[in-house]
Symmetry: C3
Subunit: 338 residues, 3 copies
């Protein structure tokens, strides 16, 4: 069980909150690359309104609130030179958030030079846009294993959850639920695995053991899960980031890498991605049923944890430790062995 005050700290990730500060000390995915074009796109990430747009090779990410009178910048205009112009009085910001024009102010005004909006660095990896929304200089981006590989097929997707992000998070260091939550994964429902768990520097390493078959799950704090999915063929490495939208919505971004030593496997991987989406959808629907069914924000004060929840217990403790010391050596730098 968890008292409601402790829980409250975990479930809200706005600017300045303990969980929000902790999550912001890591690079986080915020959008699919293909969703961000030249125009202005509104995003909400960790209770912050943002506007994103493509600027040549870069994705720009700014705060969405005009500091003049509070209009939403995504309603404005994209100008040449990657500038954004507010639709209310024309205040204009460059790609780094500096106010560069206030056309309704007199020429001698020095106000523009003193006005900035938040601007966040971005990078793209295999179809995901990442950003760093924390304080200070961004830490190095932790390139995941397989990120550089060209001998295979890379894919990504995103799912919106109508519940608090922390219950999505808790579903990850939890290899036992598969047998009950996922009837669509017939193979797995045949048996409850033996479950070994090991706390590591980067987070949690779990082994779900069914006879000779061992399935490894790597949970990297604060919010990244790596598994190798042998549920369909060819086997695919799946990395999942769980990101809060606001207190009652979350996103999961997934990056799939299928090694393909030859054209036959590569073709098979492409076909699987196109033809088997309904199976991925079914798994997600099953997860949504239980996680959203826990309530918009789950009430953890009524729960009874058991042996199967060892991963959840470790996650909560380590996440709380992370909130207390959010600026320690960033865990993302850790190499995840797979």
């Amino acid at each position: 069980m968890m008292n409601l005050d402790k829980q409250k700290e975990l479930v809200t990730a706005g600017p300045g909150t303990p969980a929000g500060t902790y999550l912001r000390s890591f690079w986080q995915p915020v959008a699919l690359s293909r969703a961000i074009g030249e125009g202005l796109h509104r995003l909400t990430i960790m209770n912050e309104d943002l506007v994103a747009y493509r600027d040549g090779d870069a994705v720009r990410l700014l705060g969405n609130r005009c500091p003049h009178r509070g209009a939403a910048l995504h309603n404005g205009r994209r100008l040449d030179g990657a500038r954004v112009q507010c639709a209310y009085h024309g205040w204009t910001f460059d790609a780094h958030g500096q106010c560069v024009a206030q056309p309704c102010e007199p020429p001698e005004s020095t106000l523009a030079a003193r006005v900035r909006i938040p601007s966040y660095p971005t990078l793209e990896l295999h179809g995901l846009v990442f950003t760093y929304m924390g304080a200070g200089k961004p830490p190095p981006f932790p390139r995941p294993e397989h990120a550089e590989r060209t001998d295979g097929v890379h894919n990504t997707n995103v799912v919106t959850w109508n519940c608090n992000y922390f219950q999505c998070l808790e579903n990850n260091p939890d290899p036992m639920h598969t047998a009950f939550t996922h009837p669509s994964m017939k193979l797995w429902t045949k048996s409850v695995p033996r479950f070994e768990i090991e706390e590591t520097d980067y987070g949690i390493h779990m082994r779900a053991i069914r006879g000779d078959y061992v399935r490894h799950t790597y949970f990297r704090l604060p919010n990244v899960l790596s598994i190798t999915n042998e549920y369909w063929q060819p086997p695919t490495h799946v990395t999942t980031w769980i990101v809060p939208v606001d207190d009652t919505h979350a996103l999961t971004f997934r990056w799939f890498f299928t090694p393909a030593p030859n054209w036959r496997v590569r073709l098979k991987a492409h076909l699987a991605w196109r033809l088997l989406q309904h199976r991925l959808d079914a798994i997600v629907d099953e997860d949504k049923t239980v996680q959203e069914g826990q309530g918009t924000i789950a009430n953890r004060s009524l729960e009874h944890l058991g042996n199967s929840d060892r991963g959840v217990v470790i996650l909560r403790r380590r996440f709380q430790e992370g909130m207390r010391a959010p600026r320690a050596a960033p865990a993302e730098a850790a190499v995840v062995e797979t």
Copy 2:
């Protein structure tokens, strides 16, 4: 008028509240029998999430929250032996709420034996499922008059109200509103009755007198109304229970009994039920207009009560007395004379 604090106590009926405890000390209808099948049905009654299912001759009624991690049991599975299995980690409960399996826990675990969810006794009467959600041993079920009769036609229905239950309740010891609220009941709108009211052990007995015609209304505390409806022929005894869903929704369950001394009247009663539903619907719509129009939760601090509200005044006083002494000799045991 009624100050807002007093009113607040009347309008919320969750577990542990004065009104909730009082209402829970009586058997209450929670569903139509025909709505509950073998599968898992979610209900909300008096701010409690419940799951109901049919188990041979019995209807089972359990709390809907899995005590493990808070998943909703109605998303789970019905297993053999009237067991319910949670869709998250397979915790399984028998028909009495005892946890009988935790397949993700090690064999030596004793946790299951110590875990129970709320389980409520049920009984069915002429198409209504009743339960007792109070503390201690259930009181005897007060079989209403006519309950045993086979010389007639029994019917039931349920209506959902988009407002607080207490304003539905107050509409009952109020025989005067008919003349103004129900233009569809043409006969009644011709005249305002003379209105006699008598406080009784079980609650309130009202007489609406129009010349030689006297219409009796029996209100049994805390929430049951009995009338004989001569609005359509053949005359029909109607018993209504008003049950809170949550603070802003309520249900009325109605049981109709039409005595039918011969096959002609029986046929007529069957036809009336099938062909005259639109007239019942019209009456309900007229009632919804005024009761929901009082506001989601009516503000009683602005009202001006008159002679016609004697029933409402008695209801409130007796309901408040009932809340203060909720475990006194249960009023349901009283025989209602009709």
Copy 3:
């Protein structure tokens, strides 16, 4: 910037609030004349529920809550003699809000004589229904300039805003936003005007200067804007009232007068009104984008005001002064020079 407490006082206009009392000390439009017929029409104005109906030459405007048990009067019946009967127990009110019948009360009852509901005086002007909802005797209605003219075409419309009224209000003493908010007004977007502002007895006089062309804007406290629109031909005088519905919705009532010295101009004015509605709609949509985009209730604590916001600053100061001394000589009596 504006701290949140000060802002809170400006944005809520219910009965008894400083802003609500101030606005109520002026005649306000509440409906289009053509929207009010013989039947009962529900309105919400400044957080008050009202019922309006036509009674011969007059529009009647009463509080919508029956003081008996709180039913909504608009669900009731219009009776002969301009009376309104509640649908619950038949309490009946005359056109001035006096309770004249309580048919469920005994004949000797004197309760009716002591019961009144709010009743507000009304008058109509060129298709708008105005009322005075303040305390005491209504001030004289300030007949706007051009009100008496018959040498032209009068029109009116109303728009509902899904945001707080005060951000609609702030958009008015703000002639600069046109260049950026209204691409549909091509002529205007060509240049940012020079902007002169003058505080006056009645409020604010602004001049937007583009070369030889000077556009005058007259803002009359607390909530009336007068401009002459030369955006389309023939030139049209537009008077706008901004009226709160509740904290998150507002109405703007507009009265358009196009002087027409001959039948050719008159015909042109009629055709323009009928054929160019899509251009008015476009302007409104552009305004809605920025004003609703500021948030349901804008957060003014984050803003950075500049030279272009002089009108907004004066509006806020004068509105706050008006709230502090709401019953001073009513500013509506001032003659607006145009």
